[in-house]
């Protein structure tokens, strides 16, 4: 039986560009183009890559911000016009329901713009709508595509298409025009590189994607390289590196819980987070480098005496690192950088070293 896959507004373009399409979160998405994952990854790190991320969920929220804030970890009172924050949607045990971007358009400061993960968008939107009912309105935006332009040359490409957007610094956003179409741009991404995410009316998405791809610096990039780029950047993949059974403390994402919210203790599961921070006994997400065989999700992490002390949650080959990299959860005694461990790959112990994240330095534009 063939599952009916959804298509993004760029589907025909992916086919035309020779994309190898695979099912992902219910969508028929390009995992790679003829350049290949390794080439696409390196191109993004050295020049610029264009990613179709239209499968992700976009929505706008209007109304009492306190109702939305009660579900997440950001302090919306501190989110200024034209600013964006990475935040977490938590359950009552502080388990991570999703990670998301929330922004306040400069041009319409009474609206909040949300971008959530594809696989979780239906649940997220139902959860937010149910828990803000009567106090705010969540409007799902299903008629806009989302593109990401990432890499050190992204700013040069953007300068040719929409120079004003280059005034944005990391985690700022605004409304601009590309090719006479209004687009919503934020300076952010999922690769560790400088770059932009661009929300475009679906009818104009292919035309604007072609404008961007017409630049010699830009190659189309598939989900394969998106995954290796984010892994090297130490960024979590929802459903793998964190889920409903992991808290922000465990996921090493406590920085995404606003200090003011921690002080007020008014986010879901705040008492769980407070006790984990006080007890300092829970497992935590760390980075690992190893030699030889890549360690994949699910591989066991052992101490040098052979005791299993954790599990790999994402792993693969890092083309920029030129070696295998992994993230996983380990017990407290093994957090320190430089700790020597083993990862069991097909039953064979492969030496691994706890390594500071990100594996590849961030290259954000902070002005």
């Amino acid at each position: 039986m063939t599952e009916t896959l959804l298509k993004t507004p760029l589907h025909a373009l992916h086919v035309e560009l020779g994309g190898k399409l695979v099912p992902f979160a219910g969508y028929d998405m390009p995992v790679q183009y003829p350049l290949g994952i390794m080439g696409e990854h390196k191109h993004t790190r050295t020049k610029a890559g264009l990613f179709d991320v239209s499968h992700m969920g976009q929505a706008r929220y209007r109304g009492e911000e306190a109702a939305l804030e009660a579900l997440i970890t950001a302090d919306l009172g501190l989110l200024g016009a034209g600013e964006q924050k990475y935040t977490l949607l938590l359950n009552e045990r502080a388990g991570i329901r999703d990670d998301l971007m929330i922004s306040r358009p400069f041009e319409d400061a009474s609206t909040l713009f949300l971008v959530v993960n594809a696989a979780t968008k239906a649940d997220d939107f139902a959860h937010i709508a149910a828990n803000t009912a009567g106090r705010g309105t969540l409007e799902i935006i299903a008629d806009r595509a989302l593109l990401a332009l990432q890499g050190p040359a992204a700013k040069d490409v953007m300068a040719r298409l929409c120079a004003p957007a280059c005034e944005l610094v990391f985690m700022q956003c605004g409304r601009f025009e590309i090719g006479e179409t209004e687009v919503w741009i934020s300076r952010s991404g999922y690769t560790g590189e400088d770059g932009f995410e661009i929300s475009i009316p679906e009818a104009e998405a292919e035309r604007i994607a072609r404008l961007i791809l017409a630049d010699d610096a830009v190659e189309p990039i598939g989900l394969g390289a998106r995954d290796s780029l984010r892994l090297e950047a130490g960024l979590c993949l929802y459903g793998h590196d964190m889920d409903e059974n992991r808290t922000p403390v465990e996921a090493s994402l406590i920085w995404a819980v606003a200090k003011t919210r921690r002080e007020r203790g008014d986010f879901p599961g705040a008492e769980v987070v407070a006790s984990q921070l006080a007890e300092k006994s829970c497992q935590k997400r760390i980075g690992l480098r190893l030699d030889g065989a890549p360690a994949r999700e699910g591989a066991e992490i052992a101490d040098k005496d052979g005791n299993v002390i954790g599990l790999v949650t994402s792993g693969g080959f890092g083309p920029t690192i030129d070696g295998p990299v992994a993230m996983g959860y380990v017990d407290r005694a093994f957090f320190a950088e430089g700790t020597e461990l083993d990862i069991l790959v097909r039953g064979r112990a492969r030496p691994a070293v706890v390594t500071k994240l990100p594996f590849v330095p961030n290259n954000f534009y902070r002005g």
Binding site: I37, M38, A293, P294, R296, G316, F317, P319, R346, R348
Partner: protein, 121 residues
């Protein structure tokens, strides 16, 4: 020496009772950039259809199955550190292992080049 092919995209070239085995250019292209090859230990006895090696690309690990019964008598140490040879020369420097054949008659069931080309067409 003739080269024969399996439906699982391995090639096997026989010289006397020693068979050299690797993966085909088609398989290498489908896998994409090979970043690691896990090979068996010399001396290992394998049966036709056993998983005897693993090829790792950036994205995923893929098993390689023994085309015939035999004993591993040599492995390609050159792939350690230079796994890209599998992409560059899959039928040459990118070979995986040498087998001592246990039963040469098993070769008869394998495809010749024309049949393999039709198989992947």
């Amino acid at each position: 020496m003739t080269t024969r092919f399996t439906e699982d995209h391995e090639w096997i070239t026989v010289d006397g009772d020693i068979a050299t085995v690797g993966i085909t250019a088609y398989a290498a292209e489908q896998l994409g950039d090979v970043v690691f090859v896990e090979l068996p230990d010399v001396g290992k006895q394998v049966k036709k259809g056993d998983e005897f090696a693993v090829v790792e690309s950036v994205k995923a690990a893929s098993e390689v199955y023994a085309p015939v019964d035999g004993e591993i008598v040599e492995i390609n140490d050159g792939l350690d550190g230079e796994p890209a040879k599998v992409n560059e020369a899959p039928l040459g420097d990118g070979w995986f292992v040498k087998f001592k054949l246990a039963d040469a008659s098993q070769l008869e069931g394998l495809m010749d080049e024309a049949a393999y080309n039709a198989h992947i067409a």
